[in-house]
C-alpha cells in the first residue's frame, strides 16, 4: 500500500508532525488476548457487589424493574447498535422509524404534542428544558419547586451558570421567571400539586416544566392534561439496566408552539417519488450542524439505542402492561409502608402526602439499616446526604420485582 501511495515508509506520511512532538510509544501495557482481557475485566466486575433485584429497595432516580428479554434481543442487533446517526435516510430507515416510534410514545405518555429523539439523561433534560424556556421567554431565572432530584438541580445550575441564568428554589414565580420546574412524583416519591404549580407558572407568564417518571404516567395525570408546557424525564425504567448510572435516556416533549425550540434531533415522515413513506431527520435548522452558534442546543450524538430499548419495552408492555407494572409497584409500596410504619421508632416522614411506589420514612435508630447489606439487601436511600432538613429520612422503593417474600425478608431483617 505504501508503494501505491508513492512513499517509502509510514513516517513519510507523518512529516507534517513536528519532530519534537513525535513520541516513541504509549505508556500503557501491551495488548492482551481476548481471553486475558475478559479475565481481567471479569475480576474487576467481581469486586463489585450485585444485590438481587428482588432485595433492592433503593431508588432515587434509578430503579430495578423487570426487563423483558426482548429488549436486549433487539438492542443487541448489530444493525441497530453499530449504525451511525441516520444521516442517509435511505440506508437508515430502521433507526429512523424506531426513533419516530419513540417520539410518538413519549408524546402519548406525556400527552404533549411532540417529543424529540432523546437526550442524555433526566438531568440534562431538565437543563435543556430550562434553556428552552429562557430563550422562549427571554427571561433569566428559573424557579425550582420542591424536591427536584438534587443531581438534576446541580446539572441545571452548571448549565445555568455558563449561560448566566439564575436558579432559585421556591414556589413563587416572578416577572423574571422563565419557568417553574417541578418533579412528579418528586425525589422523595411524594406527589405534588402539579395543577397549581402549572397555573401559578402561567399566571406569572412563565412556562411550566414537569419532570416525570414515565411509568407513573400509566396512573397519574400526564403533563399535557394539567397544562404543562414541557415534559422531561429519565427513561431508565423503560427497559434499561441500572449500569451504575448510565447510559440511560432523557426525554423531552412540548406543546406545538415550542417545537422549534426543542433541542436535539427530530424525525419526521416523508415520501419518496413512488409515494412510499419513509422517515427523515426533520427541522434540522434548529441544530448545531446547520445553525452552529445559533442552534437551540449543542447536542449531536444523543441516546438513540437507549430510546430504542424504551420503545421495545413499551411495546412489550402495551398500555395494560404498563398500568399493571405501575399498579403492582404502587400496591407493594403501600403494603410495605404500612408494615414499616408499624415498626417501633419508624414513621412516614410525610404522613399526609401521597405517593406511588417510593416513599420517605423517618427512622429513629438508623443503625439497623447498616445490617441489611449483610443479609443481601440493598436498603433504602439516605436522603439526608442532600437535604439537611431530612435527618433520619430514608426513601424506600418497591417495584414489580420486589415480591411479597422479599418484603417479608426486609421487614424481618429490620426487626431482628
Amino acid at each position: 500500500m505504501l508503494a501505491s501511495i508513492g512513499v517509502q515508509s509510514m513516517d513519510d506520511l507523518l512529516l507534517d508532525i513536528p519532530h519534537s512532538l513525535r513520541i516513541k510509544a504509549l505508556e500503557l501495557p501491551v495488548g492482551l488476548s481476548e481471553y486475558e482481557t475478559m479475565s481481567q475485566i471479569s475480576s474487576l466486575a467481581a469486586r463489585n457487589r450485585v444485590f438481587p433485584d428482588r432485595l433492592t429497595f433503593r431508588g432515587g432516580g434509578v430503579y430495578r424493574r423487570f426487563i423483558p428479554a426482548a429488549v436486549a434481543a433487539v438492542t443487541s442487533k448489530p444493525e441497530f447498535y453499530t449504525a451511525y446517526t441516520p444521516y442517509q435516510p435511505e440506508a437508515s430507515q430502521g433507526t429512523l422509524q424506531a426513533i419516530f416510534e419513540f417520539q410518538t410514545l413519549i408524546a402519548e405518555l406525556t400527552a404533549l404534542d411532540v417529543a424529540n429523539a432523546s437526550l442524555y439523561d433526566g438531568a440534562t433534560a431538565v437543563a435543556e428544558a430550562a434553556m428552552m424556556a429562557h430563550i422562549h421567554t427571554g427571561r433569566n431565572e428559573v424557579v425550582v419547586s420542591g424536591y427536584l432530584h438534587p443531581e438534576y438541580v446541580e446539572v441545571l445550575r452548571a448549565f445555568s451558570d455558563g449561560r448566566g441564568i439564575k436558579v432559585r428554589k421556591g414556589t413563587e414565580p416572578g416577572p423574571k421567571t422563565a419557568a417553574v420546574i417541578f418533579q412528579q412524583p418528586d425525589f422523595l416519591g411524594l406527589l405534588v400539586d402539579a395543577n397549581t404549580l402549572t397555573e401559578s407558572a402561567h399566571a406569572a407568564g412563565a412556562l411550566a416544566i414537569a419532570c416525570v417518571d414515565p411509568i407513573s404516567l400509566a396512573i397519574l395525570a400526564p403533563p399535557g392534561e394539567y397544562g404543562a408546557d414541557i415534559a422531561v424525564g429519565e427513561g431508565q425504567q423503560l427497559g434499561l439496566s441500572p449500569s451504575y448510572g448510565g447510559p440511560h435516556v432523557g426525554f423531552i416533549s412540548c406543546r406545538r408552539e415550542l417545537v422549534r425550540r426543542l433541542p436535539g434531533r427530530l424525525v419526521g415522515s416523508a415520501y419518496d417519488s413512488q409515494g412510499r413513506r419513509g422517515f427523515v431527520l426533520a427541522l434540522a435548522a434548529r441544530e448545531q450542524h446547520i445553525r452552529r452558534e445559533k442552534a437551540t442546543s449543542n447536542i449531536c450524538t444523543n441516546h438513540s439505542l437507549c430510546a430504542l430499548a424504551a420503545s421495545v419495552y413499551v411495546s412489550y408492555m402495551g398500555p395494560d402492561g404498563l398500568r399493571q407494572v405501575a399498579e403492582v409497584s404502587f400496591k407493594r409500596a403501600h403494603a410495605l409502608s404500612e408494615r414499616l410504619a408499624a415498626l417501633p421508632g419508624w414513621e412516614l416522614a410525610f404522613p399526609d402526602r401521597q405517593f406511588l411506589n417510593e416513599f420517605p420514612m423517618r427512622v429513629s435508630k438508623p443503625a439497623v439499616l447498616r445490617k441489611l447489606a449483610r443479609k443481601g439487601i440493598l436498603g433504602p436511600l439516605d436522603v439526608h446526604r442532600w437535604f439537611r432538613e431530612l435527618k433520619g429520612v430514608f426513601t424506600f422503593t418497591c417495584t414489580e420485582v420486589n415480591d411479597p417474600h422479599a418484603l417479608d425478608e426486609l421487614v424481618t431483617a429490620l426487626q431482628s
Binding site: I41, S43, A45, L109, A218, G246, Q288, N302, P319, K331
Partner: protein, 495 residues
C-alpha cells in the same frame, strides 16, 4: 419494502406482557389518590404480541446499513469495528446491575475501572486528569469550556469570546454559545490549515479559548500548532482540543504535548464503543493542571488501593450529568484499551493513516482534491468536477448507497464546496478500499454518460430519496396551526 409503525400494527387484545400480580393487601391507586392526580385518558400505546414485536424490530433492523455489514466511510465519524467482547464486558452483571447509590465499598471494581480508564486516557492524550462524566462529544466540549470559563472567572478575568475555525464541527460554536460565549470564526488558509494571520487579528484579552482539532476536519495536521499554542497562551487564552480526531495519532503524538489545555475524547469514535444509531456515546474531558480544580464532581480518587468518589471540590463547576457518566460505555472503552494495549493503539492509528492515504490516492484522479496530501486519518475531496454534468456530492453519496456502501460525510466541512469527506479507519482491508475506489470510478464515469441514473439513486433500498422539502412544508403547516398532522409523530385516528 416499508414497514407499518408498531402503532399501526396494534391489535385490540394483543399483549406480550404477562406480569406477576401484586399479591399483597393494598388499595388500588384510585382508592387512595385524589382524583385530580389521576390520568383520564389512556395513552395510545401499541398492543402487540412478543412475536409481532420481535418481527417488527427484526425487519426494521434489516432496513439499516451498519458497520457490521457495510463500509462506512463517514468522515469525522470514525466508524470502526466495535469488538463483540466490549458488549460482553459491559453486560457482566457485576457492572450492568450496579445501583449508582450503592456504598463505595461495594463498587470498588467499578471505581477501579474508571480510575484505570482515566489513567489510560491521560496517557493517550497527554493530560493530568480526565473527567468521565460527559455523555458525548458536544457535552464534553461544553464541559471543558465551562471549566475554562470558571478558570478565567476565578482569576477575575471575564473573557467573553471563543475562537473557532471555519472548518470546525458545528458542536464547537454551539457549545461555546451554550456557555454564553460570543463565537468568533477564524479563517483557514489555502493549504487547509488555520490562517495564522487571521488568528493573530482575532486574538485579544477578550478571548477565553481557541477550539481546535488536529488533524483538523480536513484531515490535515496543523503544522504550526506549536506557534499557535504560543500565540494563544500569550494572550492568556486557553487552547481547547476537539478530540474527535484522536484516531489519527495514538502513540504518534499527543495534544497535551502540543500545548492543549483541555481535550475531549469521543469514546464512541476512537475507542470503539458503538454508535447505536446516534448514541449513547461518552465524551470524557482531559485537562492540564490549571483546570483540575474545576473538574466536575465527583472525581474518582485512589489511596492505598482504596477508591473513593470525591464530592468536596469547592472550585468545581458542579455536575454535568447525573451519576458518573455513561458507565456502560466506559467499560467498553476500557475493554478495548486493555485488549489493544499501547502497541495496538499505535498500530491502529498508523493503519488508519495508511488506509486514508491509500484510498485518497486511488480516487485522486476521479474527484477534486482541494488540498495537498499526505492526509492523516481522513481526507476531504470535492465533487465540484462533476458539477458540469449536473451531478452533486449528494448524488455521489446516494449512488454509493445503491452500491452497498454507506456514504461519506458530504457538505462538511463547510469550507470545501461539494465536500466529500472520507475516513476509512483501520477496520477496512485493502479489498474493501479497492472496491470503494472502483465504485467511485464507476460513479464518476456514470456522471458523464448517464447522470440521471445518479439522480435516481438509490433504487434498491427500502425507500428512494425522500422529499425533505415537502416534509418541512408539512411540519411548518402543523406548527403554524394550518394542519393537524404533526408529521413528527404518529397520531391515533380518532380523537
Amino acid at each position: 419494502m416499508t414497514e407499518l409503525l408498531s402503532f399501526e400494527k396494534s391489535r385490540p387484545g394483543a399483549s406480550a406482557a404477562r406480569l406477576p400480580d401484586a399479591d399483597v393487601t393494598a388499595p388500588e391507586p384510585s382508592q387512595v389518590l385524589s382524583p385530580g392526580l389521576l390520568r383520564t385518558k389512556a395513552p395510545a400505546l401499541p398492543r402487540l404480541s412478543e412475536p409481532e414485536i420481535m418481527r417488527h424490530y427484526g425487519r426494521l433492523a434489516s432496513m439499516n446499513y451498519s458497520i457490521s455489514k457495510q463500509f462506512y466511510p463517514l468522515g469525522s465519524c470514525t466508524m470502526k469495528y466495535n469488538p463483540v467482547v466490549n458488549e460482553i464486558a459491559a453486560g457482566l452483571p457485576g457492572f450492568a446491575s450496579l445501583h449508582p447509590y450503592q456504598e463505595e465499598d461495594s463498587v470498588q471494581g467499578a471505581l477501579e475501572l474508571m480510575w484505570r480508564l482515566e489513567g489510560a486516557l491521560c496517557a493517550v492524550v497527554g493530560v493530568e486528569r480526565v473527567t468521565l462524566q460527559p455523555a458525548a462529544g458536544a457535552h464534553g466540549e461544553w464541559t471543558a469550556l465551562r471549566m475554562i470559563q470558571a478558570y478565567h472567572h476565578s482569576r477575575g478575568d471575564a473573557r467573553t469570546e471563543v475562537l473557532v475555525p471555519d472548518s470546525a464541527h458545528g458542536t464547537n460554536p454551539a457549545s461555546a454559545a451554550l456557555n454564553g460565549f460570543h463565537v468568533v470564526e477564524v479563517k483557514s488558509g489555502p493549504d487547509g490549515r488555520i490562517s495564522l494571520a487571521d488568528l493573530e487579528s482575532k486574538l485579544s484579552p477578550r478571548v477565553a479559548a481557541l477550539m481546535l482539532t488536529n488533524p483538523n476536519t480536513l484531515g490535515l495536521f496543523e503544522r504550526d500548532i506549536l506557534d499557535i499554542a504560543e500565540m494563544v497562551h500569550a494572550t492568556g487564552a486557553m487552547l481547547y482540543y476537539d478530540g474527535a480526531n484522536l484516531n489519527a495519532f495514538m502513540g504518534i503524538c499527543r495534544p497535551g504535548d502540543m500545548g492543549f489545555d483541555a481535550v475531549h475524547m469521543n469514546l464512541h469514535k476512537t475507542f470503539t464503543t458503538p454508535h447505536g444509531g446516534g448514541g449513547p456515546g461518552a465524551g470524557p474531558v482531559g485537562v492540564k493542571a490549571d483546570l483540575i480544580p474545576f473538574l466536575p464532581t465527583p472525581t474518582v480518587e485512589r489511596t492505598n488501593g482504596h477508591l473513593t468518589l470525591d464530592f468536596k471540590r469547592p472550585k468545581s463547576i458542579g455536575r454535568v450529568r447525573s451519576f458518573y457518566g455513561n458507565f456502560g460505555m466506559l467499560v467498553r472503552a476500557y475493554a478495548y484499551i486493555v485488549a489493544m494495549g499501547g502497541d495496538g493503539l499505535m498500530q491502529a492509528s498508523r493503519d488508519a493513516v495508511l488506509s486514508a492515504n491509500y484510498l485518497r490516492k486511488q480516487v485522486e484522479d476521479d474527484l477534486d482534491m482541494p488540498h495537498e496530501g499526505p492526509c492523516m486519518h481522513e481526507f476531504v475531496a470535492s465533487a465540484q468536477n462533476l458539477a458540469q454534468h449536473g451531478v452533486r456530492a449528494l448524488d455521489v453519496a446516494k449512488a454509493l448507497l445503491e452500491r452497498d456502501f454507506y456514504a461519506p460525510t458530504v457538505y462538511f466541512p463547510l469550507v470545501v464546496p461539494e465536500a466529500i469527506m472520507v475516513e476509512p479507519t483501520e477496520t477496512e482491508n485493502k479489498a474493501t478500499l479497492d472496491a470503494f475506489a472502483a465504485a467511485i470510478k464507476e460513479i464518476v464515469a456514470q456522471a458523464k454518460t448517464n447522470p440521471q441514473a445518479l439522480h435516481d439513486a438509490p433504487r434498491n433500498l427500502p425507500v428512494g430519496r425522500l422529499d425533505e422539502v415537502a416534509a418541512a412544508r408539512r411540519i411548518n403547516a402543523y406548527l403554524q396551526g394550518q394542519s393537524e398532522d404533526p408529521v413528527l409523530r404518529w397520531k391515533p385516528a380518532e380523537k
